[in-house]
Structure formats: structure tokens, C-alpha cells
Assembly symmetry: C2
């Protein structure tokens, strides 16, 4: 259940960590056979690890359609094939998101009742985390699509976190004359009439400071929110590092502050939130961050493991069969 | 040139700071006469300060249309009237953004050639700042609107910062199969054919880590980006404060680190970026942040002062008259 797009120096230690942490995990490593064998064979728990060869690699900026059409033996494609064939319960990749989504849709197909798969990830906040979707699988969403995202997000939180009636909000803006655009307003009516535990609108600052379990938005807004916060976090981290390295006194203070700084770092460590799920497919596919490291990739494997173990796809399928458009009949 | 929506405990010291810093500034304070007189009369430089009475206040969550129709003597309306009548060169308010925009459009009107006014603000990054628009005046924008935002943003940076050919980028997402939505792609073609110094697409993380002077987006995406980063910054600040207050050692370290922490705080102080300009109107209106303090409001006054002094509205008007849709004729 993995594809080695990110390079073995990241995936090998990540697999090692994951195998150590999850005793029921079995890993199928997909990639260039010889390199994998030498990097992975000496790992502990190698009895729960096997290899499947793939001769090609999808480049990070390769057009998705090209990857689907032309690279039938890419590590990405072969990994997803493992899920389609039932050899794996889930697939994890840190490769090209567009190609991953396109290949997954092509090979696995979407669940009936789902027009568009969506990308969901947990994002941190002071008192826990929130699941936000769509983070960029779709750039134009109808109100009906947003409702489907809400339903899939609810299934995910119910399956993975055991919250029976997770709260769902729609991302909106509040500063213009009439609150929200037409799509969001129409979606709010659909949400209101559904069986979802819909709590209304939230704004961008509520992602990190709010209280809902799920925030639904179209993939354009979701991707902007995600990338903007990644960019800000990077800038702030760099600023803090620069200031703690500026001159002798600052360096001394940095040494003295190490335990405090470390505990701040642990609390806001973005690697805890690695592992975005591609929802709405007939199989579990998890995207690890493009610039991930062993800790992040191991966390993504954990997300895939939990989704497979808790029957995420099956639960979404069941939830879709229930009437959700009329509250009274639910 | 001010409206007292935020309360005199903020505006009075802000006006005092601003009058001290800008010797050619003259302030017309608009609000409830008696309260203002007692709070402001003892300020230094009171010779450059006068009062205009307003008997009503627009509440922060009052519908914009209602404010325009029913509150003809609000501090917000009276302040904008000062600009319309030529008594003031610019107006600053930290009140209800929707009401401010609606009233400004109603009283001042938009410049010919501009379909929709936009809200622009500078946002920080390591090597300076970037101007982003629209931050929430519009929730559905056509490619043509985005082009107008690009033109107004360029005029602003040229007028206020003296950069002759500021670089302009379009905010987009990169993770879906086909890069961007139809509006952004169509806008890119218009930008390409215009006289703007268009440098292509950027993504959310480039707001804080990029190199362009102006980023153009629709108001929904812009507002999401702005609010999301405000929320993240708040959460991170709180986390750092909590960790530096956890136990005796952390408190000691906090005292030792004070100079470093202060210099970090100074570098990322959001109050430096207070003062968003409502662009596209026949007059200068500046919005100060709803939760501002004297430092932030004084900064917003400075933005208004600079816009008025550098003839921002006149420059936008001139730039609009020039042919911008065909590069060769520019």
C-alpha cells in the first residue's frame, strides 16, 4: 500500500516507523525493484513487507491526462491497481495530486451517487482539528456537489473518529453586502434540508479558531485556504528562526528556550496532519504532502490504515444509500 | 477624515499619533459631538482638528442596504459626505465593511470604466509586502472585473510606491487536473493582452513567500485567504503565549527572550498592514480593521493620507483612460 514517488530516503524510514507502530499493517512497496530491495530489505518487520515492481515515475508537473494515458507502469498507477485488484486495502502516494486523482478515478471509479471525488484533510486548531473539503480536486462546484462533500465528510468523521453526528459548516465570506455567493447560498438550503448536522456558515478564520467538525467549500477556495496557511506558517517559522539566530544573545536565548520552542513546534507540527483522503472513490487513496518527510509519510500511512480498518468506503456507500435530502425521512 | 465607529478610546489616541507624525494632516472627526469634544479637545495639535456631528451609528452586523437607506446621519455616512462635498480628501472608518462599501458607492459613485469597486490591502512577506485584491467587496467576478482589479492595483502601487511597472499575478490553484477555473483562465488571457506587467499565476503560498507586487483574485477567494491567515496567526500567537507561560522555567525563558520575541512581534505586527483601500470610487475611502487599536487606526489614517497626497483617484482615472486592452498601443 504505497508508492515511492517521494524517493526512498523518505518512504523507507516512513514504512519502518509505520510497521513498528501498527502491528497489523502489511506494506506492498511499489517502485523500481532493485533500489527498493536494497533500501527496504534490512528493515525490521520485513516479514510484513513485499515489493511490486513499477518501471515508470509520474513527474510532479506532468499533465494528469498524460500520466493516465501514457504511463501504465508508473508506481502511481501500479499502486492504485493493487487497490483495484484487492491486493491492497488502501494506497498512499506523495506524488502529483492531479495525476493521482485522475488515475484513481479512471482505475477505481467513483461511488454511485458521487459526481466528483473530493480531497479532505484534517487541519489543526487549538482544541483539536477540523476536516476541510474540497482542498482542490474540483475548481467549479455546484450546490449539489457541495452537499455530496458534506455527506462524505460526515461519513469520514463518523467512521474514523466515532462522532455520531459530526457538525458541518459551509465556508463563506462575511464582508460583502449580501453574505456569500449564489452557490454557497443554494448549498446552505440543501444542507438545511438534509440529514446532515448543519450548523451554518463559517469564515476563513474559523478554520483555525472554530468548533465544527467539518468545513465544506469548493476546491478553489479550499486550496487557496490550505496553500495560504502553509505559506504563512513557513514565513513565520523562518522569521522566528532568523530572529533566534541574530547575534550572540539571541543564540544563547535560543539554547535556553529549546524546550519551550520544541513544545511549540510539536503542537503546531504540520506533519501530524499529513495524509489527505481522496473521497468518493471505490477504494481508499491517501495523498501525502509533496514535500513530506518520514514522519509525515508515516502519518499518511496511518490515515490510510485507519480508513481501511474502519471501512470508510463501505460506510460512505451505505450513507449514500440513505435518504439524506429530506430530514424527516432520515 | 475619520469616522468614530470603533470608539473614541481607539480613534482619539490614533488621531493624536497621526497628527504628530504627519505635519500636513488635518483631521475632521465625525461622531457624537459632546463625547468627541471631551476626548479630543485636549490633544496636542488640536489646531489641525475639527468636529462634525453625526447622531447615528451603523452597527457592525447591520445590513448594508438598511444603513444606506435609513441612517442618513450615521458617522459613516457623514464621513463619506465630507469627501463627496470636497471638505475631506479621504475618509477612514473601521465600521461595517458592507455598509461602508454600499454607502461609498451610493454617495461617491464609481469611476467610469469600473463596474465594481474592490478592496485592496498590503499583506506582509519576508522581503516586503504584496497588495492583494479583491478582499471581499465582490463575490462573483467576471474576467473583465479581474482585469479592472489588476489595473486599479497597478495604479495604486505606481501612485503610492513609485514602482513604474508593478508586477501583477492572478491567484490560482495548481492541484487539480486542469489548472484553474474558467474565470481565472479567461482573465489570464485578458491580462496577457493588456498593458499590465502580468507575470502569470501564483498560488496561496505565494502571498507570503512570493515576489510579485500585486495579486488579483475574486473577492470570495481573497476574503478566504485573508481571514484564514488572520485565524492561523491568532492561533499561533496564542500557542506561543501559552507555551511561554507554562510553568516556572518557561516564564523565566520568556523574560530572557523578551528582546527576541519583541523583535519577532515587530516584524510580523499585523497593525503595520491596517488600512485597506476601497478602489474604484470617485473618492478615497480607507477601511481600518474591525478589531483595530490606536497603532492600527493611525496606520490606516497614514494610508488615506498617502493616497490623497499622491492623487490615487486621479491616477486611476488617468490609467483607465489609456488603452490597456492592447499592449502595442499602450
Amino acid at each position: 500500500m504505497m508508492s515511492g514517488d517521494r524517493g526512498l530516503q523518505v518512504t523507507a524510514p516512513a514504512v519502518s516507523q509505520a510497521l513498528g507502530r501498527m502491528p497489523d499493517l502489511f506494506v506492498i512497496a511499489v517502485g523500481e525493484q532493485a533500489a527498493m530491495a536494497s533500501a527496504l530489505e534490512e528493515l525490521q518487520n520485513a516479514d510484513r513487507l513485499c515489493f511490486v515492481a513499477a518501471s515508470e515515475v509520474v513527474e510532479m508537473n506532468e499533465p494528469a491526462a498524460m500520466a493516465v494515458r501514457a504511463k501504465k507502469d508508473s508506481s502511481l498507477r501500479v499502486s492504485i491497481n493493487q487497490v483495484a485488484e484487492g491486493a491492497a486495502d488502501a494506497c498512499v502516494s506523495s506524488g502529483n495530486t492531479g495525476a493521482l486523482m485522475a488515475t484513481a478515478r479512471f482505475v477505481l471509479k467513483t461511488l454511485s451517487g458521487i459526481d466528483r471525488p473530493a480531497i479532505v484533510s484534517a487541519l489543526p486548531r487549538a482544541d483539536g482539528h477540523v476536516h476541510v473539503l474540497d482542498l482542490g480536486a474540483n475548481v467549479e462546484s455546484t450546490p449539489q456537489h457541495l452537499l455530496q462533500f458534506g455527506m462524505m465528510g460526515s461519513s469520514l468523521v463518523r467512521s474514523l473518529e466515532g462522532i455520531r453526528e459530526p457538525t458541518v459548516a459551509l465556508l463563506n465570506v462575511g464582508s460583502e453586502e449580501i453574505k456569500g455567493n449564489n452557490t454557497v447560498k443554494a448549498a446552505a438550503e440543501l444542507f438545511q434540508d438534509s440529514s446532515l448536522n448543519f450548523v451554518g456558515y463559517v469564515e476563513g478564520d474559523d478554520i483555525f479558531n472554530g468548533h465544527v467538525d467539518i468545513i465544506v467549500c469548493d476546491g478553489f477556495a479550499g486550496n487557496v485556504a490550505l496553500k495560504t496557511s502553509e505559506g504563512l506558517a513557513q514565513m513565520l517559522t523562518r522569521t522566528v528562526q532568523e530572529e533566534f539566530r541574530r547575534g550572540f544573545w539571541s543564540r544563547c536565548v535560543a539554547v535556553l528556550s529549546r524546550s519551550v520552542l520544541d513544545s511549540i513546534r510539536r503542537r503546531i507540527d504540520h506533519r501530524q496532519y499529513d495524509g489527505a483522503v481522496l473521497l468518493g472513490l471505490r477504494g481508499t487513496v491517501v495523498k501525502s504532502h509533496g514535500g513530506t518527510d518520514p514522519v509525515g509519510f508515516a502519518r499518511a500511512i496511518e490515515v490510510a490504515h485507519s480508513a481501511a480498518k474502519n471501512g470508510l468506503v463501505e460506510n460512505i456507500r451505505k450513507d449514500l444509500d440513505e435518504p439524506v435530502t429530506q430530514k424527516d425521512t432520515a
